[in-house]
Every structure is written in structure tokens, then in C-alpha cells.
């Protein structure tokens, strides 16, 4: 009998359209296959710089995001009480007019009464520009509860950050160390990179309390105790300094290690010693005399002592050589044996210095000094939320950057490299703009980097100007705002009340809030007259998330396959270390319902409100839609949202708007890349060829070489203020905290969460985001929810035995602010003081178009119920937010709990359980 005939060459699809994924912040290129006008299959785009053809579980099941029954159909107006989920469908005209009626009086009288915050927004340079035009100081995206420690520490130290803004030199690195990595940003590039390193037999070391994902494949795992990474890193630094294993040439040339620190008592103590031109300077080893830091041929002397002032290098050495940082002194606290710390230090030094690599590529630095080749330190690091989401996260991230710097392992071959538009020094970023004037736009962007107390966003009376208290004494470097504080502050009227809360893609009524249960109460809080304390809530989302139920007006968004977007050099592009890159989305299918891309709606609203920049001279809308804005808008002359195909089509980075630009992007596979020249690929902050190229492609308007900041002068300025110097003074209750947290050299202090330990909360509790889920989105995807439809609490062996757990058991988990009862599962490869679960699997009943008895709503749970956005009261009557004192980053991972074995709750449903959202009128 013969084999059956198999058609091995079927027609795959009618057409392939290339656009950009939206299943996480990775933003991979995708090929969307269409059959008869419908999406039939999605795969990675091989030409795309981010994913090179591969695609993750979320991206590869993107088709289910389009067919999900949770998709909103039409604009909605709330008809029932807020939080019930009862709506009536309305027309777009009605919806837009309603929004205008609410917003116009605010703009005319008190623009700050609008708080506009965005969540999984990939158009922040646009939404920020809109809010700026409206004139409210109250705008930010979700970075404050996500990433700001890492971002700010990176910018203030290196002029670039981890997250997706830099990458290990995957081709050359010989040792890769990951700290607390979450697998949702830059995820495919990191997976590709780890795969490459593994294929080469290079070593990967994971420092993480939990050994899953990247840490599971790491050759070595250091199961550190949460919140102690900073101490661990400073101990590594101790070992390296003790042995003299630091890159002295690198430190002298490329960092402020040779700057002199003013040691005269008074208002300048701890600031850099400056010359007559108010410039810091160095002592030249050739002459022993002061010399400009950027002078040609200068050899900065790390050991200089000048008029009693010593160099940053000496201050640094004095601090970290102290026995407090010896491995033996920190081992117990970190949960890592001292020998292991010493071994890692030895390994780092061995790879950096004994296995150095050299690329035969001559280059010239910003001083004009020529180098015959590029010497590389093939040690790379990456870190993310695990070290970022602690109240000591900013300083911990600074410590890690210091470790990189000491090894000469930033921007050198084989080490960690930045992606354009980074490197970009703090000085090249704006300062915050926050003064609201009725009827006027803000004078500049909301978010920025303060240099000193004068730039804080404070009102004349010293109270915070922003609803989230960003850039206030409580968190001076809150460069991404504090989205997690908006609702609590607005309800408390601290610092003031608002009228309209306008949210985009931010599930604040559920997994995006700390303290979820109370936030739901805040959203429905009423005044004595029966009005809502937050009078109006406008929300835009594509899906029936929990937040939808708490809004008064819903502006339904499209899915990612039905919209225009730009992944822009103006906010978070898709660059790689070797090339600047940006990308678009375009409607590869048309929406089959009455929904509109949010950015186009925002432009429509802006035109109706007459916002500057959004109306033509005759008062008509300036932009047809978001696609028109993307192509026509100019941020600076010749520089717009997209860098490719400008002017006549040849313009790279600079050039007049090109009406064909969108078509050219589509033709090019949805993205554009401008390649960094060979001689500019490394040492970018100091490489003259890179600086020239960056100006040419419009990243800067003039070269911006700079030195890495081992010593942070802006931080010292805040310490000085706390010590009583300067005109702008902090409130007294914050002085001690500022003196501690704003140390100009990286330090470690216990997280604020650790204060709960003496009260019996001895266990750390963490969440991780699974690689196959993006926030809460995955659960509406029928494929992904089969993989992970509910989540247990993972318990380490020691605690498992201590509490006598066995398979199928439940635990009551109590924190200082809440309690949950959840199923437990044993995990051996876990720090013995730590429990954890997957993030955002638990769903509110009725949300996301899942049946009410969906496992996500019955067994699934959120750890958020145990976290508070405020720290426990200290008795001084002050409300301290549960955030990093430097940046305001939400300290999710400070959480402390205690465990006890519990009887399974009724119907084996996890607790707390909340009522079912009706979600009427949504279908």
C-alpha cells in the first residue's frame, strides 16, 4: 500500500503584512498572514532588529487577541453606580462631546484638575505632548510603578539604563550576570542573547531569589534574599578594590573618579571643586596641576589631593574598603555564603582583566586622543524589576552601575552597551515642567531630571505641584511620576482634589494598583452630597478589563493590528547597540466594530478643545488622525516621531516631513534602522565618531560627551539641603531620610518593608510575570489561559516543612496591610525566606469576558491585596508612600508576610473574593 498524498507546499496565505507586536514592551516585528482578509497566522519578522524572526508565546498567539470576546465594541456611558459595570452604548460624537464638556472648563479655569495617566502606553511622547498642550502638570505613564529606579539610576550614573535601553555584547561577552530579571522587557533580545551565549559555552550567572526562566538556565544561581542585592554588589566591589582589580585607566578617563570633592565645611561641601568657569576639573598626572577634564592628552590623577580636597576615587575606596562591606559581614543578611561572594568577585576580575579582548579598530575620543584599538572587558550585566522595585532600588541600581564601571564594563567590547538615543547624559534631559496656567499649555515636558532642589515641582508654599507628588521632597528624582499614588492622593485631597481622572490602558482597579481592594473603594468613594470624590473618570482600553467597570465614559481602543503607532526615537525606540531603530504599526486589518485608535481620538479631542499644535490657523483639526501626526509633526525642526525616510525619502533622522514616510516604512517591513559607523560602535559617550553621528541623525543638536557619575552631585545637593544649606528647604520630618537616601555614593540600607520583620512578618513575598503573559492581557487569550489559568503560591522547602504543607494545601498569608488565602506549591529552587507567585493571573469575576467561575477568578489570586501604597503609620501623622525615597518607584518587592496553613476556603476559592462585575452593555 502506498503512502497517502500530502500536499507539502500549500499556499500559506493570501498576503503577508508586516507590523509591530504589542504583546509586551519588547515590540518585535511580526509578519501577519491574511487569508480572505482575516488574520490567519502571525510569526516573527526575520529582518527585524529586535526579534530577528523569533517570537514569544504571546506574540505567536496574537491572533487570539483580535478574536477575544473581551474586546469592547462601542463607546460607553456608565448607567449604574460606579463599579457595577452597567453601561449604555453611545455614539462617538456623544462620547467626544461629553469629554469636551468635561474637559473644557478645566482647561479654562484649572488645568491641574485633569489627571491624565497612561499605562501600557507605547506613545508616551505623544500623550505627554497632548497633556502639555492641555496645560495640566498631572501627566505620567506607568514607569513610577514599574521601572523608574532603574531608569533614573542609569541616567544619573551612566547616561543610559538597563531595561531595554542597553544590552550585553552578546557576541563577545564571556560572563553574563543577571540580577532580578523580569522577562517582559527586551525579552526576545535577551532570550536570543542567552541562547547565543549558551551556544558559545559562555557563562551565565543568575542572582535572583527565584530560579525560573533565565535563572533556570543560568550556569550558576545565587538565590539571594530579596532587597539585599545592593549589599551583595557593594561587597563584590569591596573584594575588587581590596585586590586592586579595577580598571584604573577607564576610571581616570571616562568617569568622574578624578574629580575633586570639596571638603570645606559649608554649603559646597561634597560638591565638586570647580574652577573660575564653574567647571569641575582634574589634576593632570603629567604636571600635578589642575587641568580641564576634557583637555587633550590630560591624564587625570585618581590619587590627587589638592588643597585638602581628595578625588572621588579616594572617597569611594575609603567607603567600600571598610569592613562593613566584607563578604563575611554581609553573607548572612544576603543569604549568600561569603565564599560564594569572593568566588564571584574573583571570576569577574578574571574575565574582565585576564580574559580581556581587543578589537583592532582605531578610534578617537572626545579629548582628541587617538586609540589604536578597542580594549574590551567581556563581563556583562543586566538587571530589572527584581532590584528596581524596592525602596532601596535606586541606590542598588547605582551600586550595580558602579560595579560595571569599576570593571570597565560599560560601552567596551564584550560588556554592556547602550542603544541610541543613549548614551545621553542627565544634563541633556529636560527638567520637570509643572506650572499650570489656565488656558495655557505647560512651558515644557512634564517629566525630567532634577539637578537640585530648585527644580523640584513645588508650589510657592512648598507643597507638591503634582497630584502624584512627583519631584517633591518625598521622592525628588521621580522621573516617571508616581501613577500608583494618583488615586489615593486624589481621594485624600492631598495635595489637592482633581475633577477628571483620564486613564489609558492602566488597570488601576485591579492588578496595576497596589492595595487593589482599597483602590476600588477609592474609585467609588462618595462625598456627603452623594457625588463621587473623584468626580469623573474617563478610560480608554480595547478590552473589558476591571478598570472599565470603574469609569464613567469609555473610549474603546482598537487592537494592535488595527491601528497606527510609532515606536519612536522620541520615547522608547527599537534600537540595538549597533543601530538606532524605530518602527510603526499600521492597520493590517480594519476593525470590525465601532472602535477607534486612542491616539487619533486624543487628537480629535485636542482639536475640539483647541489645544495648541492640534488646530490649524483656521481652527480646523491640524491632523487628520494619528498617522498624519506621526508623519507631519515636528518636535524640533526636521526631527519628528519617525527618523527614517525623511525629506525626499533619503533623510535619516533629520529632514522635512515626508508624506510618503508611512508607505516607506510599510514597504521596509514596518521599521527603520540607522547603523552606527564601525569606529563609533563602542565607547559611545566618549567616542568622537559616535558623537558626530548622533548629531547627524538628529539624536542631539551638538556633541554631548560626558563622564560617568560615580559621585552624584545632584544627590549631594539634596543632602546639603537636608543638612540645612540652600534656600529651598525640605520639611523637617524628611531631613534624616534625605540625608540617608541621597548619598552621592551608592549605599545600601534595609528596605522599608524590612521594618515589618520584628512584628512577625519574616517572609519575603514576590511576584514574577510569566513569560507567556503580559500583565492581565493573557487571560483573555484562549491559548495562553490554558497554559496558565490560575496561580499558586510557591513555598521554599524550609517553610514547606516548617508549616507541614502537603500537596493540595492552602495557606493564609498575612502582611501588615492585608490577608489572602491561597493554594500552595512546593519549590526547591527558591530562597529559603521567600514565597512568590505569578503576577496578574488572578482576575475579578465578570472581567475580561471570562465566565464567572473561570479559574482565574476562583483559584487565581493577586498578591496586590497584601501591598499598600502607604507604609504603616509611624505615629508622626505623616503619610509615607511605599516607594523608593529617591524616585518614588513603587516598592512592590519590599513586601513582608507571614504564612500559616489554612483550611481550603469554601468552594476552594482563593480569598479575598469580590463581587461579580456586571459588564452590561459591553456586548
Amino acid at each position: 500500500m502506498s503512502q497517502p498524498y500530502v500536499n507539502t507546499s500549500p499556499q500559506v496565505s493570501d498576503e503577508v503584512r508586516k507590523t509591530t507586536c504589542y504583546m509586551c514592551a519588547c515590540r518585535c516585528g511580526i509578519n501577519v498572514h491574511l487569508k480572505e482578509g482575516r488574520v490567519s497566522y502571525i510569526e516573527g519578522n526575520r529582518d527585524h532588529p529586535i526579534n530577528k524572526g523569533v517570537l514569544c508565546a504571546k506574540g505567536a498567539s496574537g491572533i487570539m487577541q483580535v478574536t477575544a470576546p473581551s474586546r469592547l465594541r462601542t463607546p460607553l456611558r456608565r448607567v449604574g453606580p460606579r463599579g457595577s459595570g452597567a453601561f449604555e452604548p453611545i455614539s462617538w460624537e456623544d462620547a467626544l462631546q461629553t469629554a469636551v464638556d468635561w474637559l473644557r472648563p478645566l482647561r479654562d479655569e484649572a488645568p491641574e484638575k485633569l489627571a491624565f495617566f497612561t499605562g501600557r502606553d507605547q506613545s508616551q511622547s505623544f500623550t505627554g505632548w497632548w497633556a502639555q498642550a492641555f496645560g495640566t502638570p498631572n501627566y505620567a505613564a506607568h514607569g513610577g510603578f514599574c521601572s523608574v529606579n532603574m531608569a533614573a539610576a542609569g541616567i544619573y550614573t551612566l547616561g543610559g539604563a538597563f531595561w531595554e535601553f542597553g544590552a550585553p555584547d552578546w557576541e563577545r561577552s564571556k560572563l553574563f550576570v543577571l540580577f532580578g530579571v523580569a522577562e517582559d522587557h527586551d525579552s526576545n533580545p535577551i532570550k536570543i542573547g542567552i541562547g547565543k551565549m549558551k551556544a558559545r559555552g559562555a557563562r551565565v550567572i543568575g542572582v535572583n531569589p527565584i530560579r525560573t526562566g533565565y535563572n533556570a538556565v543560568a550556569d550558576d544561581w545565587i538565590g539571594i534574599t530579596p532587597g539585599t542585592d545592593g549589599l551583595f554588589i557593594l561587597s563584590l566591589i569591596h573584594c575588587l578594590l581590596e585586590a586592586g582589580k579595577v580598571d584604573l585607566d577607564y576610571l581616570a578617563r571616562y568617569t568622574n573618579a578624578a574629580y575633586l570633592i570639596n571638603e570645606t565645611e559649608g554649603p559646597d561641601k561634597g560638591l565638586f571643586v570647580r574652577n573660575a568657569e564653574a567647571q569641575p576639573f582634574v589634576i593632570d598626572r603629567r604636571t600635578g596641576a589642575p587641568a580641564p577634564w576634557e583637555a587633550k592628552g590630560v591624564q587625570p590623577d585618581l590619587g590627587a589631593k589638592w588643597q585638602g580636597h581628595r578625588t572621588v576615587f579616594q572617597h569611594m575606596a575609603a567607603r567600600y574598603l571598610a569592613p562593613d562591606y566584607a563578604p563575611e559581614a554581609v553573607a548572612a543578611r544576603c543569604g549568600v555564603p561569603a565564599l560564594r561572594i569572593r568566588q564571584l568577585a574573583a571570576e569577574l576580575a578574571d574575565v574582565a582583566f585576564n580574559q580581556a579582548i581587543e578589537i583592532a579598530q582605531p578610534w578617537v575620543d572626545f579629548r582628541g586622543d587617538a586609540h589604536a584599538s578597542m580594549i574590551g572587558r567581556p563581563v556583562s550585566f543586566h538587571a530589572m524589576r527584581g532590584i528596581s522595585a524596592h525602596s532601596n532600588g535606586f541606590q542598588t541600581a547605582r551600586a550595580l552601575h558602579l560595579l560595571q564601571i569599576l570593571l570597565g564594563a560599560v560601552e567596551t567590547p564584550g560588556s554592556w552597551r547602550m542603544k541610541p538615543p543613549y548614551p545621553k547624559p542627565m544634563e541633556a534631559h529636560p527638567t520637570p515642567h509643572f506650572i499650570a496656567v489656565p488656558g495655557k499649555p505647560l512651558t515644557g515636558p512634564h517629566l525630567g531630571y532634577v539637578r537640585g532642589p530648585e527644580q523640584l515641582a513645588l508650589k510657592p508654599d512648598g507643597s507638591p505641584a503634582r497630584i502624584d507628588k512627583a519631584f517633591s521632597w518625598e521622592n525628588p528624582f521621580s522621573a516617571h511620576g508616581l501613577m500608583h499614588m494618583v488615586i489615593p492622593n486624589a481621594v485624600a485631597g492631598d495635595p489637592y482634589r482633581i475633577d477628571t481622572l483620564f486613564l489609558y490602558m492602566a488597570n488601576m482597579a485591579w492588578n496595576s494598583s497596589m492595595n487593589t481592594a482599597q483602590v476600588m473603594q477609592m474609585l467609588t468613594a462618595q462625598e456627603p452630597d452623594g457625588s463621587y470624590t473623584i468626580p469623573r473618570i474617563i478610560y480608554s482600553d480595547a478590552y473589558a478589563s476591571e478598570m472599565v467597570a470603574y469609569a464613567d465614559l469609555i473610549l474603546p481602543d482598537t487592537t494592535y493590528l488595527e491601528r497606527h503607532d510609532c515606536i519612536s526615537m522620541l520615547d522608547r525606540p527599537v534600537s540595538e547597540p549597533d543601530a538606532a531603530g524605530d518602527a510603526i504599526r499600521w492597520p493590517v486589518v480594519e476593525p470590525d466594530r465601532n472602535v477607534r485608535g486612542f491616539q487619533s481620538v486624543l487628537l480629535d479631542l485636542g482639536a475640539r478643545l483647541g489645544l495648541p499644535g492640534m488646530v490649524a490657523e483656521d481652527g480646523s483639526p491640524k491632523f487628520r488622525d494619528y498617522a498624519d501626526y506621526i508623519v507631519s509633526h515636528q518636535r524640533r525642526p526636521g526631527v519628528g516621531p519617525l527618523m527614517g525616510f525623511r525629506g525626499n525619502g533619503d533623510g535619516e533622522g533629520r529632514g522635512a516631513p515626508n508624506p510618503d514616510q508611512m508607505a516607506r516604512y510599510i514597504e521596509n517591513g514596518g521599521f527603520f534602522q540607522a547603523h552606527v559607523p564601525e569606529e563609533a560602535l563602542f565607547f559611545k559617550p566618549w567616542n568622537a565618531a559616535y558623537q558626530d553621528w548622533a548629531v547627524k541623525v538628529g539624536l542631539f543638536d551638538s556633541p554631548q560627551p560626558y563622564l560617568f557619575n560615580i559621585w552624584s552631585e545632584p544627590m549631594r545637593r539634596f543632602q546639603l539641603a537636608a543638612e540645612g544649606h540652600g534656600a529651598v528647604q525640605p520639611p523637617d520630618h524628611l531631613r534624616e531620610r534625605l540625608k540617608l537616601a541621597m548619598d552621592p555614593l551608592p549605599i545600601w540600607y534595609p528596605t522599608f518593608g524590612d521594618a515589618a520583620e520584628p512584628f512577625g512578618f519574616e517572609v519575603h513575598a514576590l511576584t514574577q510575570r510569566p513569560m507567556d503573559m503580559y500583565h492581565s492581557w493573557g487571560s483573555q487569550n484562549a491559548w495562553l489561559r490554558q497554559i496558565r489559568g490560575h496561580n499558586p503560591l510557591f513555598v521554599p522547602t524550609k517553610l514547606w516543612r516548617k508549616h507541614g504543607f502537603s500537596e493540595g494545601d492552602w495557606a493564609r498569608v498575612t502582611s501588615p496591610s492585608g490577608q489572602i488565602t491561597v493554594p500552595v506549591v512546593h519549590m526547591a529552587a527558591l530562597n529559603e525566606h521567600t514565597v512568590w507567585t505569578w503576577n496578574a493571573i488572578g482576575k475579578r469575576k465578570g472581567a475580561w469576558a471570562l465566565s464567572q467561575d473561570a479559574p482565574e477568578s476562583t483559584r487565581g489570586f493577586l498578591l496586590n491585596h497584601l501591598i499598600s501604597e502607604l507604609l504603616p503609620a509611624k505615629g508622626d501623622g505623616m503619610r509615607y508612600s511605599n516607594s523608593d525615597p529617591v524616585t518614588g518607584q513603587a516598592a512592590w518587592f519590599d513586601l513582608r508576610v507571614r504564612l500559616e496553613r489554612a483550611e481550603p476556603p469554601a468552594q476552594a476559592e482563593s480569598l479575598p473574593a469580590f463581587g461579580t462585575l456586571a459588564m452590561e452593555g459591553l456586548r
Binding site: 489561559r785 490554558q786 497554559i787
Partner: protein, 289 residues
């Protein structure tokens, strides 16, 4: 393995029916209406049993295709066996009913085919190495013993029935004895299933999926130890000891009627256990057997 009712009914009734057919052909010589009813009943039993197996199919309309692979497939052989058996008995059945006087020796052809069919049924399971409890010659023996005992009971042969029931007891005990250690003897473990056993003790961390699946429903059926004990007592006590007692104590047709009912209860219990207790090695991947 999932104890699907269609398969339990199929194996119990077809075995009993085929056993009865074999005895009708070789040890009885009913005539006329009596012959019609006996043959019809035996045919009905075997056919209902065989038909029940079709309820287990995803696409029963293609069942004819099951006849094509007799060279390699026991299921195909069983299908052939069943059809040939039913055909082979037909002339004798007609002869008995209509008094055509066909030689009784004709019946032996059908009887051998019937027993071969029962063995083929057993071999469907016994061939499966992935279910160690089944992967043994005692399984076809077990099926044969049940078929013979069922046949003897229906045929009304008191002593042979008692002996066959003792045979069932022996086969069942052998099946349990062999089966209880079979999984361990098969040397399949999570260590061998993943190849990670050499590194250390292997345990489940997370399941591949929290949702249900065909594999979990079909292959991984966890039955409690106490439940097994109770059912084993029923299988042997109700299915063997009590029928023997009934045959010894209750005279006449009543004894047989009682014994048949008890036998069926026991056979269903045994057959349910046959599936429910059978652990597929794929369960290793899920930490469940």
C-alpha cells in the same frame, strides 16, 4: 486510563456473547424456536458489545477502515475476528433454527474464531508497552477466562461454569499480581521520561498547562487505593465467589439467573478496574499515574 463505559460494556458483553456463541455451537443442539432465541440472544449480546465499541470512536462512519490493517494491528484483527466469527456461526445458527442438519463440527470453526477474537481483544491492551499493567500475556488469558465463564453461565453448564469461574479467579489474581509490580518492572520513571534522573531527584514544578487536555482525561485517571480494594473485593467476591455459591446453593434456572447477574456485576467492576488502575507512563510527565 480512563474507564470509559463504552469500552467496559464492549469488552464485557462481547466476551460473554462470544463465549456463549462458542458453547451454543459446540456443546448445545437447540432446535426450532429455542434455537432461534438462544442464538439470537447470543448474537445480540456479542453485537451490542461490539457496537458499544463504536461509541468510543471519534469518526464511527469510517469504522470500515478498521479492517484494513490486520497485518499489524490487533484492533484490526479483532474486527476481522468478530465479523468472521459472527459469519462463521451463522450457518449453524440457521441450521439449528430451521433444522438443516449441518454437522456440529462446523461449530468448532466458529468457536475457535470466537476465542481468537477474545484473545485479540485482550491483545489490543496487552500489546501496549506504555501501560505496563496491561503489557503481559495474562491479559488475553483474563479476557478468555471471562468469556468462557460468561458463556458457561449463559449456556447453563453448572460445573463447567464453576470451574470457569475458578479460572476467572485465577486469571484475575494473576493479572493483579503481575500488574501491581508491572510499572516498577517497566523501569519507566520521571527520571527516564525526562532523562534528568542522573542529575538528581526529579519532581514536578509546574504543569505544562493548568487547563484540562485529552491526555489528562484519557490517560491519567487517578483512583484511590481504598476504592481499588473495595472494587477488587467486589470483582472476586461478587463476580466469582457468590456466583459459585449461587450455582451450588440455588437450584435450577434461578441459580443461573442469580449467578449471571452477580457475574456481570463482578465483571464490570473488574473491567472498570482494568482501565482505572492501569497507569500510562505519560502520567509520569504530569506527576500523576
Amino acid at each position: 486510563m480512563n474507564p470509559a463505559s463504552s469500552v467496559i460494556i464492549f469488552t464485557v458483553l462481547s466476551g460473554m456473547g462470544l463465549g456463549y456463541l462458542a458453547l451454543l455451537a459446540t456443546a448445545h443442539d437447540y432446535t426450532g424456536a429455542a434455537a432461534f432465541w438462544h442464538w439470537a440472544f447470543a448474537y445480540a449480546l456479542a453485537t451490542i458489545g461490539l457496537a458499544a465499541s463504536a461509541f468510543h470512536l471519534g469518526n464511527p462512519q469510517r469504522a470500515w477502515r478498521a479492517f484494513t490493517q490486520w497485518r499489524s494491528s490487533w484492533l484490526s484483527r479483532e474486527a476481522w475476528g468478530a465479523v468472521l466469527t459472527l459469519l462463521a456461526f451463522a450457518p449453524l445458527a440457521l441450521s439449528d433454527w430451521l433444522g438443516l442438519g449441518l454437522p456440529r463440527g462446523f461449530g468448532w470453526v466458529g468457536a475457535v474464531l470466537a476465542m481468537a477474537t477474545v484473545i485479540a481483544t485482550g491483545m489490543i491492551y496487552a500489546q501496549i508497552r506504555a501501560v505496563p499493567r496491561w503489557h503481559h500475556w495474562s491479559v488475553p488469558l483474563l479476557y478468555l477466562a471471562y468469556a468462557l465463564a460468561g458463556g458457561c453461565l449463559l449456556a447453563g453448564f453448572r460445573m463447567p461454569a464453576i470451574l470457569a469461574l475458578v479460572g476467572v479467579a485465577g486469571a484475575v489474581l494473576l493479572h493483579w499480581r503481575v500488574g501491581d509490580g508491572a510499572f516498577a518492572r517497566a523501569r519507566s520513571s520521571l527520571g527516564s521520561a525526562t532523562g534528568l534522573g542522573a542529575l538528581g531527584q526529579v519532581e514536578i514544578f509546574e504543569p505544562a498547562h493548568t487547563a484540562g487536555s485529552y491526555l489528562l482525561r484519557e490517560m491519567i485517571y487517578v483512583v484511590g487505593r481504598r476504592h481499588v480494594k473495595r472494587l477488587r473485593v467486589i470483582a472476586l467476591g461478587v463476580g466469582v465467589a457468590l456466583p459459585i455459591l449461587a450455582l451450588l446453593v440455588v437450584p435450577g434456572v434461578g441459580g443461573f439467573g442469580l449467578a449471571i447477574i452477580l457475574y456481570l456485576l463482578g465483571a464490570f467492576a473488574q473491567r472498570w478496574l482494568f482501565f482505572a488502575e492501569a497507569e500510562h507512563v505519560v502520567g509520569l510527565y504530569y506527576g500523576r499515574r
